[in-house]
Symmetry: none
Subunit: 290 residues, 2 copies
DNA sequence: ATAAGATTGCAACAAGTGTTTTATGTTAGG
DNA sequence: CCTAACATAAAACACTTGTTGCAATCTTAT
């Protein structure tokens, strides 16, 4: 992208005839509409003949008006995460194509993804999920393949603060048999992204049939893991790499557990303290402890 | 706004035929494109007949596809420049102390933590670690307790793109015996944060003694897991909750793997493709695949 | 196994698109 | 005042768009 539309326009604006200037002014004032509306519609709103838009595009050196619109569409697409990311990119400029540059791009993308989790819908779902977990009997944790790390981590964190967490991994070929003993007061935390593992989807259906509440952490509002009326945590999984990213899911899961823990009683800290002692007694930790 | 497109869709999604679901999934995954591209173009990208898009719109009760696109266009217009974090906090003013507010604070904190990973030192370490991994024979992955999810995920992702990954979990009480068979061309990826698990520290020492290169992902430059002259990935673990956060570590680990994969040969995509086929053959995935 | 129904792919359609051509008006210099 | 030279408007053009009707195909229940 050698030059932005605005720059190109500014360079030649003064030498344009009156009608073209009128059209150009409107485009500058309504860049969103320039991307989203048809040329004729734009011409109408700008108070200009349709042909004028085409002529403007050509006068600026573009093939036609479609090019102009594509420019504005790209801007709409990419002008996403302004703060954080844009400034970081400006700060340390790396040669494109190097591994450092790629790494930096991924870091920025990741930060933007996490930041986007702050939208109201996600926060509400988090809150609901947390209260559901807090009031639950047992909490079953399920996730396979790329989602396994997330499910495992949730189980582990929960097991630090309570004894109600049950991990549903398939170790030993036992499948998810523990689910059959679940009671309606229990909840199932399930994490899964497309392509959805069949066994997980079936386990969710089984849990639902058994009357369990289900908290789904997944990648789309249309995920088969989501149960109507239950909290659904939706995270992005897109990545610069071809491996989709589970980092947003992991982060959200961690926040969820933190929320659950927050609501818990003061006996919790004592419990964690006791755990530390116990582990120290078993010589689990290396002495150079922070 | 009576109902958002997503809500309308979610309500009837299950009762839609396969092709309409496929189209709907694509739209949900690419809301920007849904606003900016022509229907035929969208159909092509979604792998669906043009008519299907129209039918979907009508099945959801809209007049036609233009209505659907207008909905997404509006969303694109209004969800404009949120300064991501700062303005998001301003926009939805939450009462301090509520669960939503706490969640939002954690999200913002998390985004900042991830963004901070873009500093030059970390990027350099990432690059070194990636080239080390790329040139390695086998890659042992080690991490226990809260670091286990990270180690597991790295192992899993690596095992998707090569057959050189070995997970060192202690399942079955076998300890880390696999390490004794390691050769100097192998590398050890280890993740661990304070308080450092004794067994992990000892395994690192053993690996170092055996001539292995060691990539450490840890929480401090003073961590006992770091070997002199080896790449060290330092991540923050502080959290609003008392449970320390592993999300930055997880994110960085994922980027590391992506970098390793990036450098790999073109045979990689073929390999992943083959994997997909294999899993499909074994009926691993739920049919509603993206 | 078969029929009724739903779903899908294909091709044709009218409407709308961006562009180009043609006609009309406007302005400046001889 | 005329007439080039230019700017604007209008109309015609080729093309793409979103939609719909119909036949082929796949489900599903009898």
């Amino acid at each position: 992208m050698g030059e932005s539309f605005t720059q190109t326009l500014a360079a030649r604006f003064d030498s344009l005839p009156a009608q073209l200037q009128k059209a150009a002014r409107w485009i500058e004032a309504h860049p969103h509409d320039a991307a989203l509306l048809s040329m004729r519609e734009q011409a109408g709103r700008a108070g200009v003949q349709p042909a004028t838009m085409t002529r403007l595009a050509q006068a600026l050196g573009y093939d036609g008006y479609d090019t102009v619109r594509a420019l504005h569409a790209d801007a709409l697409r990419h002008a996403r995460q302004p703060g954080l990311v844009a400034t970081a990119a400006r700060r340390n400029k790396l040669q494109a194509g190097t591994r450092e540059a790629a790494a930096q791009a991924m870091v920025q993308h990741g930060a933007a993804q996490i930041g986007a989790l702050g939208d109201p819908a996600t926060l509400t779902a988090l809150s609901q999920a947390a209260s559901l977990m807090a009031g639950a009997g047992r909490i079953f944790c399920l996730g396979m393949r790329s989602s396994h790390a997330v499910a495992w981590h949730v189980w582990y964190a929960l097991s630090l603060i309570s004894d109600r967490a049950v991990l549903l991994d398939g170790v030993g070929g036992v499948g998810f048999d523990a689910l059959v003993q679940a009671r309606p007061s229990d909840v199932l935390f399930v994490c899964g992204v497309a392509p959805y593992t069949r066994a997980v989807v079936e386990a969710v259906m089984q849990a639902r049939a058994g009357g369990l509440r289900v908290i789904a952490l997944t990648d789309s509002p249309l995920s088969p893991l989501i149960s109507q009326g239950e909290p659904a945590l939706i995270v992005p999984t897109d990545s610069a790499s071809f491996l989709h990213s589970m980092a947003p899911a992991f982060t959200l899961a961690e926040i969820l557990v933190a929320l659950v823990a927050r609501g818990d009683d003061p006996a919790l800290l004592a419990r964690l303290d006791g755990l530390d002692r116990q582990l120290a007694a078993f010589n689990t930790y290396h002495p150079s402890k922070g």
